[in-house]
Amino acid sequence: MTWSATARGAHQPDNTAFTQQRLPAWQPLLSASITLPLFFCAGLAFIGLGLGLYYSSNGIVELEHDYTGDAGSSNCSVCAAEGQGRAPPPPCSCAWYFSLHELFPGPVYLYYELSSFYQNNRRYGVSRDDAQLSGLPSALRQPANECAPYQRSATGLPIAPCGAIANSLFNDTFSLWHQHQPAGPYVEVPLDRAAIAWWTDYHVKFRNPPLVNGSLALAFRGTAPPPNWPRPVYELSADPNNTGFVNQDFVVWMRTAALPTFRKLYARIRQGDYSAGLPRGAYRVNISYNYPVRAFGGHKLLIFSNISWMGGKNPFLGIAYLVVGALCILVGFAMLVVYIRYQDQTDDDDDDE
């Protein structure tokens, strides 16, 4: 008697829309009247967008030069040959001459491109210590284990900045010279090397350790530079805002690339006479050739490029949009035909029933 002697209706479930699964709901249906127009509209919109993207990408001017120095391709081959099999390679310089017959519209950006360089290799990518790079003094002395084998120098000193990424810092340098008149003197084109890194990287992610007695060098005392570096990190630049961990080139390099072929911004040309672009004339790029890539089949390129609203030259998106748009419309037509034909058939079936 104990188990049934409860009040009448005590077990009655609640009559709510939720418990009775009667929640009001919108029940969309993918009918032909939605699907077919959807395909056509998407197709048209994509073709429109694709055309815009394609033309804006096409409008971008790019000038690139491979200065890796594979046999006889450029005058850097001497440097390449000299550096063959020597580590570190001896300092060497070479040049790239080119001429512009018309204005290279600005602002012009100077990139270097590396190929077959696996910055996205996992072991390479983790070989860094973000705590050290954010200026934590403890991490400066105790680099993370991920940095190995560039964690500590042969003498046992902690390496700052530690890790393979920092050790492999790109160290070719470029300067651009412009010859206004034929046979005239070459004038150096000012390269704006400031603010080439992300604002957040420069201000947030990368920070120097706190200065000791107002000196960055003292702050880094007791650390060793990465083995490949000719000079310690606090001497990367004379500019106190651009040295140590917050050196712009270093910060750009430390933002590892997603793909084995990548470009990194070297400088912007936007000062003086060159704010509107590179005027016509002959140019020379002086290259100090230090960085070895030929050992693993890599290539080094220099690129001058300008930029549109949707970034650098890359026709991919435009073409992809055009192709997808065209496909949409084609498939839409095919579906329309199928629909009309089968619609009749099913109607007939229904009549038969």
Binding site: M1, T2, S4, R8, H11, Q12, P13, N15, T19, L23, P24, Q27, L30, A32, L38, F39, L49, A87, Y109, Y111, Y118, N120, N121, R122, G125, D130, A131, S134, P149, A164, S168, W199, V204, K205, R255, T256, A257, A258, L259, P260, F262, R263, L265, R268, A295, F296, G297, M310, G311, G312, K313, N314, F316, L317, A320, Y321, V324, M335, Y339, T346
Partner: protein, 1130 residues
């Protein structure tokens, strides 16, 4: 002691025990192993938290669920353990808690009190009617238990009871409900104890004011606990499929890892070796081969998300939610008994959407086990139809009910509509009087009158109860009986008849008689029985009456009523005396007593005068015929497995639409040996499908090829609609050897199958047979203990709750109180659960493929270095936060059509039976779709950022921006994908879907925020990426392109699929959507009358009656004693 412990944990051992149990699951163990792999620095490609956080969440969700379940069990245990009981302590009865009862205690049980120990009936009780919860047969819910004579003499003398020093030796605790052997040694004598003397835990004492008992088994030793202890774990087909698929995925994972490891070896050889100027090999790596060994494991870790960690826990949550819907369903709540439907097993929901065979019990499931006196034929006049002036039958309504107010002893619940019968009674028609007198005398019903004038009848078979109640209402009230007398109030006048003999019922005789001496000193024999038997015993004088009555009987039978003929004979004193002597001798004879008795009976049961016939309606449960029709429209086959007789079972089969009159033929198999049975089955098959006997029949070829091994019987199509009736005796032969295949082939071609006179074990065997050879889902529904075996054997067991017996319910997976709820359970809840589960699985696998396979493509561009595409935090949160709610929302709320349409168009159920919505083929589609999506997800962003810059010339092709683009696109793709899958957008779905997207972006800004990254620079390595990349047009252009590229094929496929590969369901759905837009009045289904003739059925329980018990005189003592004890108490 008697403490019951069903709970598994306590506060201290919960954590270790629960964790131990959870890690026994393969999936959890896999992730634990993965965790250890991740802790090895040489191969760790993902930080530890990417696995630990999801694992902890999954473990804790399951842990909380287990804890709640266990808490409920604790509560139940406490409730049971703290019930009070009267215990004999030092010569006094003391109230105590059940849990303190110990073996050897003497306890007192009172009327309507449940028993929670196995007690030996002891002390007094003579006729204890024990309504058992574990009733043996549904038709006899009341069992008679008797104490042994030596103890019953002690009555309620506490001194004697306290001094009782007998010794009981009995068998060890076991789970056999109907067997008990033991010996009581008391005062130097041994008494044999059997299960009749034992009160089992779970019984309720009825019709007994009190009894004393000796406790024999307590707590876990009781038969009930021994029975309920072992729960056979049921796995659904989807579960099994899921395990296979997870295994496939695992193999796929290994293959991918192998490929990538080989790729890595080649890469290290060609490029990595030379790249060492910038990235030297680790000192433990001596060659590219060693390196690729490590990479294999690294990729094993990276690609682990292929095996979805949250799959199992999500599946459990979904099933739990869908089970709650069943518990909550108001339309499955039975108000009169206050019983809601109950999903007792929360892991079988989607199986409900795939049922192909329903095995149903009859009594208590299809029928209410309530008999109603519906019609009668007295002396050639038919009573019971309400006929208007023109002679047409009129439908009866409640207000036409006859008022029996003139009879104070009438049962108010009895209803009858034909006034002419009452008029005949009041006019004093002698035949009508004699008819009802015979009904009030010829039975074995016991009456109980606690309050003056309120009679309660205890009948062994409900038919008898109905007849006696009818007589009572028409003025012939059976008031009480002793072993020698029957007191009847005849039209207000009390008359005592002397009971001379009861010629009890048995299955061969199919009749029972009583011989009474009337107050006028006439000796009368009243007999009732099956028409076929009675007709042969009639006096030749009433042949014409017999013909008229038989016509009426045909009428009754055609309405599905159960009929009996009633006759009488007046005996002269001398004849009776000589017969009585013979009877006495036969009774006392030791050998062949049964046979001798029946010969003696036959001597007196002849030359009977026909009085008339009764027609009793075996009341069907509400809505049974409609439900059966709906289920058969859903192509569900219904087999009735009953312990009842063939006639009754077939009768019920017709009245609830399992058999139809339009059927081409109903085969009856009644062979007595296996060869006859086989011949009968083959004959049936040759009619249903003549060419199936040829050797060229594909099924025969199939069977000839494979023998003995397990195989799936192919589906066969008969040339018409047939039914099969087979009884338990023939079935025993049919289940032997290879006859079972013959049986299966015949039975599965039939529209309806009736198996009668089945033992509980045979019920299970039939279910097993279908389960073994047909790869279909079976469902068994029943209410009694005799159905337990089939409920346990079937894939899904359904118990009818709210009945006296709870055994079926306790062993069932789902329980509700009305048969017609079955259609809602299967067609609505089952279908929804199945559809939801399938949608869930296909989406879940898809989203993990799309997520994980991107790593695979990326490997080709990063030197196969186990570099992940995504941020570690994204990997951690993807399954757990970003995509969990929408998919849960979909699988808890989605419905393609609402419940009304589901029931209107049972054809919608078919895809579940054929398992169309999720199978290996669908899985392959998911895989291909996932591969396609991952390709798009990787190559579009790659093309978009390749050698590209932002509009300010700065970096966009860096690793972190690329990660962001891919993962944001992925979130958009999987979200739009689920948006396409959802057909039922509730507020909650909107909230979950858009909320998840919102959460993604919020978390993105949080995880990539300056503050967090400055605090933990090595944990949050992506500062500023969100800010720098989310405002780039390339990013959004890529996302739009990716989403469209991933969606349009799906939309196109969905659009073209019903055109190219139309399934019947598509058409129905189309019609439903049309109807939803243009509301039509719901079609009124005409209730078809069932014309035609069928043989009649006789209404008797198929057990021996209580005749012997009544005449043994033991009830007298009981009555006398009751009268003695009551005043004393007052």
């Amino acid at each position: 002691n008697n403490t019951i412990k069903t709970s598994k944990y306590n506060a201290f051992n919960f954590l270790p025990l629960n964790l131990f149990e959870q890690f026994q699951r393969l999936a959890n163990a896999y992730f634990l192993i993965l965790l250890f792999l991740q802790l090895i620095p040489q191969i760790s490609s993902l930080p530890w938290y990417t696995t630990v956080i999801p694992l902890v969440v999954v473990l804790s969700i399951t842990g909380v669920k287990d804890a709640i379940d266990d808490m409920k069990r604790h509560q139940n245990d406490n409730q049971v353990n703290n019930r009070s009981v009267l215990r004999l302590v030092k010569g006094r009865m003391e109230e105590d808690k059940w849990m303190n009862v110990q073996v050897g205690d003497i306890i007192k049980l009172e009327n309507d009190q449940p028993v929670t120990v196995s007690t030996l009936g002891c002390g007094f009780f003579l006729v204890a009617w024990v309504g058992t919860r574990d009733s043996d047969s549904a038709s006899a819910a009341v069992l008679v238990k008797q104490a042994i004579t030596c103890t019953s003499d002690m009555k309620d003398n506490l001194d004697l009871l306290s001094a009782f020093d007998g010794e009981v030796s009995c068998e060890l605790p076991n789970n056999k409900l109907h067997r008990f052997t033991g010996i009581l040694s008391y005062k130097g004598k041994d008494y044999f104890l059997d299960h009749d003397k034992l009160l089992l835990r779970g019984c309720v004492i009825r019709n007994t004011d009190w009894c004393y008992g000796l406790v024999i088994y307590t707590g876990p030793d009781t038969k009930l606990m021994q029975n309920s202890g072992k729960y056979t774990f049921k796995q659904t087909h989807v579960d099994r499929l899921m395990n296979i698929l997870v295994l496939w995925i695992f193999l796929f994972l290994i293959v991918m890892c192998l490929m990538l490891a080989i790729g890595h070896g080649i890469w290290e050889n060609k490029i990595g070796y030379y790249f060492q100027i910038f990235l030297p090999w680790e000192n433990y790596v001596s060659s590219s081969f060693v390196s690729s060994l490590f990479i294999f494991w690294s990729y094993f870790i990276v690609l682990n998300t292929m095996v979805p960690i949250s799959l199992y826990v999500s599946v459990e949550l979904i099933r739990l939610g869908n089970s709650y819907y069943i518990n909550w369903d108001q339309k499955m709540f039975y108000a009169p008994k206050n019983t809601p439907a109950q999903a007792r097993t929360t892991t079988l929901n989607e199986e409900l959407g795939q049922v192909k065979y329903v095995f149903s019990d009859k009594t208590g499931t299809l029928t209410q086990n309530i008999m109603i006196f519906h019609k009668c034929s007295i002396n050639g006049t038919l009573y019971g139809d309400v006929i208007d002036k023109t002679g047409e039958k009129v439908a009866v309504s409640e207000k036409d009910k006859i008022d029996f107010a003139y009879n104070k002893l009438a049962d108010p619940k009895f209803s009858f509509y034909d006034k002419t019968l009452v008029e005949a009674v009041t006019k004093g028609d002698p035949w009508v009087h004699l008819f009802f007198l015979s009904l009030s005398l010829c039975h074995t019903v016991m009456s109980e009158e606690k309050v003056e004038g309120e009679l309660v009848y205890q009948a062994q078979s409900p038919d008898e109860g109905a007849l006696v109640t009818a007589a009572r209402n028409f003025g012939f009230v059976f008031r009480s009986r002793t072993s020698e007398t029957i007191t009847v109030v005849e039209m207000g006048e009390t008359r005592v008849y002397q009971l001379l003999a009861i010629l009890d019922f048995n299955n061969v005789r199919k009749r029972m008689s009583v011989i009474v001496r009337t107050p006028e000193n006439r000796v009368m024999l009243f007999c009732k029985g099956a028409d076929t038997i009675i007709c042969e015993l009639l006096h030749p004088a009433c042949i014409s009456l017999c013909d008229v009555t038989l016509e009426h009987l045909d009428d009754f039978a055609s309405e599905g009523l159960r009929t009996l003929m009633v006759a009488y004979r007046e005996l002269d004193n001398k004849f009776f005396r000589t017969w009585s002597v013979k009877h006495g001798e036969a009774c006392l004879s030791l050998d062949n007593r049964e046979k001798k008795l029946s010969i003696v009976y036959e001597e007196v049961e002849k030359d009977l005068m026909l009085l008339g016939a009764t027609a009793i309606e075996d009341k069907l449960q509400d809505g049974v015929p409609e439900t059966v029709m709906t289920l058969s429209k859903a192509k569900i086959k219904i087999w009735v497995l009953t312990g009842d007789k063939q006639e009754t079972a077939v009768n019920i089969a017709y009245s609830c639409n399992i058999f139809e009159d339009e059927m081409d033929e109903v085969f009856t198999v009644k062979g007595k040996d296996s060869e006859t049975v086989r011949q009968e089955l083959r004959k049936a098959r040759s009619k249903m499908k003549p060419d199936s006997l040829l050797d060229s029949d594909p099924v025969n070829i199939f069977l000839a090829k494979k023998h003995k091994a397990l195989f799936t019987m192919p589906e066969e199509v008969p040339n018409g609609s047939y039914g099969l009736v087979i009884n338990g005796y023939s079935l025993a032969h049919a289940l032997e050897g290879d006859v079972e295949l013959e049986l299966l082939r015949v039975a599965c071609m039939c529209k309806g199958v009736i198996c009668c006179r089945m033992t509980p074990l045979q019920k299970a065997q039939v279910v097993e047979l279908v389960k073994r050879y047909k790869k279909v889902v079976t469902l068994a529904i029943g209410d009694g203990a005799n159905d337990v075996s089939m409920i346990k054997a079937a894939h899904i067991g359904v118990g009818i709750s709210g009945q006296e017996g709870m055994q079926a319910m306790l062993n069932s997976d789902f329980a509700f109180s009305q048969f017609y709820y079955l259609q809602r359970l299967i067609l609505v809840h089952g279908r929804w659960s199945y559809n939801r589960m399938c949608k869930f699985l296909s989406y879940f696998f898809y989203k993990n493929f799309a997520f994980t396979l991107v790593h695979f493509w990326y490997a080709f561009f990063n030197g196969f270095s186990a570099q992940t595409v995504y941020d570690n935090w994204f990997i951690t949160c993807y399954n757990l936060i970003y995509t969990s709610l929408p998919v849960l929302g979909m699988s808890l709320f989605d419905q393609d059509v609402n419940d009304t349409w589901s029931l209107c168009f049972p054809e919608l159920y078919e895809p579940g039976q054929l398992n169309l919505y999720f199978n290996k083929k669908e899985f392959m589609k998911c895989l291909i779709h996932g591969i396609y999506s991952s390709l798009v997800l990787f190559f579009i962003p790659m093309g978009a950022v390749y050698n590209s810059e932002r509009s300010d010339g700065k970096e966009i092709s860096d690793y972190q921006s690329f990660s962001l683009i891919v993962q944001t696109s992925l979130i958009w793709v999987v979200t739009t994908q689920i948006a396409l899958k959802i057909t039922y957008w509730t507020v909650i779905s909107h909230f979950f879907i858009w909320g998840s997207l919102g959460i993604y972006f919020c978390l993105l800004f949080l995880l990539y925020s300056d503050g967090l990254c400055q605090m933990f620079p090595n944990v949050f390595q992506f500062p500023g990426v969100a800010r720098n990349t989310l405002n780039q047009p390339q990013m959004w252009l890529s996302i739009v392109l990716i989403v469209v590229l991933c969606m349009l094929p799906v939309i196109g496929y969905q659009f073209l699929k019903p055109l190219f590969w139309p399934v019947s369901v598509d058409k129905i759905l189309k019609r439903i959507h049309y109807c939803m837009k243009h509301p039509l009045p719901p079609p009124i289904r005409p209730r078809r009358r069932r014309p035609g003739l069928r043989r009649s059925a006789y209404a008797f329980s198929h057990q021996h009656g209580f005749g012997a018990l009544i005449t043994s005189g033991k009830t007298v003592k009981s009555k006398a004693l009751k009268k003695n004890s009551f005043p004393a108490k007052k």
